[in-house]
Amino acid sequence: MELGFLIGSVVKIGAILAYLYGLLWVLGHKKLWVKIVGVVAAFAIVQLAFTITIGDSTILNEFDSGLVFQAASMTMIALGLNLIYGFNGQFSLGQWGFYGIGAYTAADITFRWINGDSRGLLVVGIGSILGAVMILGIQKWLSRLRGVPVLSAFTFYLFGSVLVGAVAVVIGNALNPAISPLLGSAYEPGPLSQGIWLQIVYFLAIIFAGVFAGEVSFLFGLPVLSLGSDYFGIATLGFTIIVNTLMLNSDTILPFPEMKGGRGMIGIPKLTTWFWAFFFMLMVIIIMRNVIHSSTGRTILAVREDETAAKAMGIDLASTKLLTFVIGSFFAGIGGGVYAHYIGFLSPGTFDFLAGFNPLIIVVFGGLGSMTGTIAASFGWIFFLEGLLRVLLGQMGPDAPTWRFVLYPIVLLLLMLIRPQGLLGTVEWGFLKAPFVRPRENQHTASDVVEG
């Protein structure tokens, strides 16, 4: 039995890696129809494994499908962190905080929506759109002035945010009475809180949660990113702790009684299906891959490699770091939204700063600066730690699963000794490989360059 389970688990991990390889290979194929068919097939395989029953359970049982969802959201968070830490070289422990912000924001929007309150969506939606406009506007205005110190700029953005927040709340309160009758209550859902409308609200909730997390990271990153890398790490650790404390007291010092503080938020609609998890994961992978292979991606790399040289190339260090930080946090926010609607219950304990080291471990484990490594490690890590070790040790005794926190650091230690560059180093699969640049046909000849 135990041996059978062990073999089964190893086969599962292997199958997942093969699946990821196939997915990335298909995405990297030249023909568009192959890409589309391949992605649909990749979606269908897992969906079928969730639904087809063999014997008395589905191919991927309840437990395994839970791991798949966790791994999908962990992929988004870890990819965001890899962008910040692996590609841009900014050591951040704040990713877990942005993950928490995304989870709670998205959960609050849909929770309120199914309980007949549209203010969650209205306030966050209007707030994040206006916030983006405000940030871009102030940025444009400040770029015309010369030598504005970071903290002065920060003050402008802070006042702007407070103003935008107040406007969003006022508009939200004004529009709510018009919409809320259509929402019904949790027992009698109105026309807008079921079916396709609920799916749209879910989609918007997750996107707005990501944007909101991105905007918070902008405000936080602006003053803090000017610190050196190590100090930045400590400051972001502080951020995660602040977010966690706010969560613990969300019903007392923050005006959100539905989040229920330390008791945990219950009753979040479980709207995350495999379709949505797959969709958002794919979106994050594609966005990140395109960012990295663009000229912006190269500036991100250049800043990590050598700040002086990057500056000498004409790269604006501060805004490149900030952009990376915002994109990475956006991914974390989206991952949080997906996670919240899968699990249906959020507790501040999940967002404790100690757990915040998990994405960091995954990123280092998979290889700093390797997207493939991060994706593979997110899935492999969850299935190894939660899937294999927990069940395997669970059969030895009731307390034995605790030993996995001994076994898994040992695995980490061994990996760091054998492969300090991470599991995959900088290897990329299929779609994530750097595109091959064909030499241009109309090369100027040496003579006409000199004459020209």
């Binding site: 790399l301 500056k311 004409g314």
Partner: protein
Amino acid sequence: MLLDVKNLNVYYGAIHALQGISFHIEEGEIVSLIGANGAGKSTTLRTISGILRPRSGSVHFKGEDITTTPAEQIVRRGISHVPEGRKIFAPLTVRENLEMGAYTRDDPDEIQKSMDRVFVSFPRLKERLNQLGGTLSGGEQQMLATGRGMMSKPSLILLDEPSMGLSPILVEEIFNIIKEINSQGTSILLVEQNALMALSISNRAYVLETGRIVLEGNADDIKNNPQVKSAYLGI
């Protein structure tokens, strides 16, 4: 006057690194800054390119004050800084490194033209186009760094120690290329330990000593100055 530096004072914390430096560069010139270690040569270049900020004094480029302009704007105005120790981007290929140099420019055809011009000066780089920057030899890295500096189509290149760690033959090759770049109309501010070599291709030179300019003049005069001879040229 292309570049006009007036009474520049730069501090590293309490250390007064540049103590009122003034000099200028005319269009089409090669000007050398020579001096011992710690004289402030690299600090001068870093201040001009905006990486460091002076406490007082001014830098004018093409008649405009660029003393407080951010580094990324200075590159756009036509000053390119080739930093000391090459500082190429190791995980990027030669082509990508060169493209980074053209970060401030948009037109792909013009960028390709500049790249072809770099290949005329450094044919070796064309052979190594898809090789990672970190795997190049020291000489090739210096060529790449200089080529990268040419990619922003500058009117002034600040070259910091282009001969560092290179064999004498390679030094000669690099200096010939510097001269050639200059002959195509780009002015050059050269910082060098290898004073003899630098003076042989320069029009004018300034001698720096602990943050002050102690001597200035035509390169030939400086070369024949007995003090300089004994202190820097070793002849």
